[in-house]
């Protein structure tokens, strides 16, 4: 195992998350590499330090500050029926203001359940806009990945041609896969032609 890879796996090694083979490989590397031994000791010390900390208990005012408003809203919602509960969830406004809105001369259901109607309209708008938003995001994404996607597909097909070097094809396809997964392209090598 090389130094770079061992360094990447140290954290998982400290947390005992590696496979048996990887654990053995990291252990073998630690025997030879002083830098990785230091890094390992630091990680282990940090883990031990964190494990030794006592659990933090919140102060008494913390619960009082949260419990008060939550209980008030729950009580108001319970007294107003299901529509009131919905209103309380959507608009936790003072009841007087809400009542003035509800008294407006809305026809039929809109007058009786304005919160419900408004929520329905909002949901319908969101659903209708979803394909548009998704399409735009996909198009923006496609702008970024278009060439890499096609180079990836082409390289994969090149791999099935006879006498093409698989290691090179794997390199090209691998680079493209990283970009498709949202990573920045690998920089150009340092060997100038």
């Amino acid at each position: 195992m090389n130094h770079h890879r061992a360094g990447r796996l140290l954290s998982a090694y400290v947390d005992s998350e590696l496979t048996a083979a990887e654990t053995r490989a990291v252990q073998a590397h630690l025997l030879d590499c002083a830098a990785c031994r230091d890094a390992y000791e630091n990680l282990r010390a940090a883990r031990d330090l964190l494990a030794g900390l006592p659990p933090a208990e919140p102060e008494g005012e913390f619960w009082a500050a949260i419990r008060g408003p939550v209980m008030r809203r729950a009580t108001a919602a319970a007294s107003a029926g299901w529509a009131g509960r919905l209103r309380a969830q959507l608009w936790p406004a003072p009841r007087a203001q809400w009542a003035s809105v509800a008294r407006l001369p809305w026809p039929g259901i809109a007058g009786r359940r304005p919160g419900l109607v408004l929520a329905g309209v909002l949901i319908a708008l969101a659903l209708s806009a979803l394909p548009l938003v998704r399409g735009t995001v996909d198009r923006l994404h496609a702008t970024e990945i278009g060439v890499d996607l096609y180079v990836h597909d082409h390289a994969m097909q090149m791999g099935t041609a006879p006498l093409v070097d698989r290691a090179y094809v794997g390199l090209v396809a691998g680079d493209a896969e990283l970009v498709l997964a949202g990573n920045t392209p690998r920089p150009v090598g340092d060997s100038v032609r």
């Binding site: 990836h152 090179y168 090598g189």
Partner: protein, 459 residues
């Protein structure tokens, strides 16, 4: 109308001829001359077959050095490559630093690419050769295969083979191990830029009995697994693809000599759906990806170009070149190792949109039913291939479907000769006569002009 079609055909022929004659051909720099071959050496075709069969017979493990042209610079990559017959492959990249630790494990069906820096595993189709027999048929048909002699690579004797395409594309030189058939070294040359890819083993060991477990990848805990099998398995012709994708799929009217339709598939990535057509001459591939223009944007890299007055973009990635253009509401992307001029000519012919005129012209010249010509087009054949198919079918008395399989390379000369009760040499001669005497729709020029793409003009 008929006169107009003829005039357009003539114009394209002149354009192609002009591009072929006008652009200078720069021959690749000759490699160092290898030692002459020993007195008793196999034929070049036999050595090539040995190289194609080697992965099914030999295990090896070695360190490979790859030097490739990438975005205008030569990049050197070191990789530990292990192979267990018939189709287990493990690649562990060692340098440069930004690829160090990358592992690809391929079992002949699925390739798993692990990226340690991201703790991500990508699963994709295999990157290994699907069938040596079909590859050998097209390679021997479309390449001049010459044995240059023998040479020594890391202390092992190797045959040096040169594969030069009859059409355009990279010329390949292979150092094939005399004992095992393994390719120990390779060089790919581009007519305009010289060496674009070299590979060689700096160390190799054979017959190690590598354990199969070495070719199974067990990702570390917490690894994110991403399936990137963007191209659907199997193969479809353009007509079948069109039904699947729901937009018209355009088939190139002509391609460089030797390139034939090798399959189509749907490529999907998110909401981006593209029709993918693949053409090969046995050693190189040109891929065409077609998608609705609105579903994909222009890439930010490359240079803007005009293809027959249509906006396009040309991207030189090094070993691969990419040309993107728009026509009839489609965004078409061509990817390959073919010279930029060839990609431009292919794109220009597609844009010209003379499909109906060419169907009429080819059916008249070959005395074939236009409906049959259209059917062969929907199966991915170019017009020169269709003309060749009719000429061979008339000369040999073979059915159109059998002849198409022969033209595609799915049916070798030996197989067809056996079917017809002929000697292979006699069949080859008959095919050559039929093709030479047929009134052919011209293919693209064989030469590979150098420098900036001809006909490219920045808007």
């Amino acid at each position: 109308m008929r006169f107009a079609a003829k005039a357009m055909t003539a114009a394209v022929v002149l354009l192609i001829a002009g591009a072929a004659i006008g652009a200078p051909f720069v021959p690749p720099a000759p490699p160092a001359p290898p030692a002459p071959a020993a007195a008793v050496t196999p034929a070049p075709r036999a050595i090539l077959k040995m190289a194609l069969d080697a992965p099914r017979l030999i295990d090896y493990e070695g360190t490979k050095i790859i030097t490739a042209l990438r975005n205008g610079r030569m990049e050197t990559v070191t990789v530990a490559e292990s192979h267990k017959r018939p189709n287990l492959l493990r690649l562990e990249y060692l340098s440069p630093e930004d690829v160090a630790g990358r592992v690809i494990v391929d079992d002949g069906t699925t390739a798993r690419h692990y990226e340690p820096a991201l703790n991500m595993l990508f699963e994709d189709h295999s990157i290994q050769d699907a069938g040596a027999a079909a590859g050998l048929t097209l390679l021997t048909r479309n390449y001049d295969i010459v044995l240059l002699g023998t040479d020594e690579v890391i202390g092992r004797q190797a045959y040096v083979l040169s594969l030069t395409p009859h059409g355009t594309g990279v010329q390949r030189q292979l150092w094939v191990d005399r004992l095992t058939g393994t390719v120990l070294r390779s060089e790919d040359r581009d007519a305009s830029r010289g060496l674009v890819l070299t590979t060689y083993f700096s160390r190799i060991s054979f017959s190690l009995n590598l354990p199969e477990a070495y070719f199974r990848f067990r990702p570390p805990a917490g690894t994110r697994v991403v399936s990137l099998q963007t191209v659907a398995g199997g193969t479809q012709n353009p007509a079948q693809l069109q039904q699947q994708v729901g937009f018209p799929v355009l088939v190139p009217p002509a391609l460089p000599e030797g390139y034939t339709f090798r399959g189509g598939a749907v490529s999907r990535f998110g909401s981006l759906v593209s029709a993918y057509l693949r053409y090969s001459d046995g050693g190189n591939i040109i891929s065409f990806f077609e998608a609705p223009a609105g579903s994909i944007g222009w890439p930010t890299i490359g240079v803007p170009v005009r293809v027959q007055a249509q906006p396009g973009r040309f991207i030189d990635l090094g070993y691969f070149r990419v040309l993107i253009w728009e026509q009839r509401g489609l965004r078409i992307t061509a990817v390959g190792t073919a010279p930029s001029e060839t990609l431009m000519l292919v794109a220009g012919q597609l844009i010209a949109g003379r499909e109906q005129a060419l169907v009429t012209d080819v059916s008249r010249r070959t005395e074939a039913d236009p409906a049959t010509v259209r059917r062969l087009r929907s199966e991915g054949l170019t017009f020169p291939e269709i003309a060749k198919t009719f000429a061979i079918s008339h000369a040999l008395g073979t059915s159109i479907d059998t002849t198409v399989r022969f033209v595609h390379g799915s049916l070798s000369v030996t197989d067809l000769a056996t079917q017809l009760g002929m000697r292979p040499d006699a069949l080859r001669a008959a095919v050559r006569r039929a093709v030479d005497t047929a009134s052919m729709t011209p293919a693209l020029p064989a030469s590979a002009p150098s420098g900036q793409p001809a006909g490219l003009s920045t808007p």
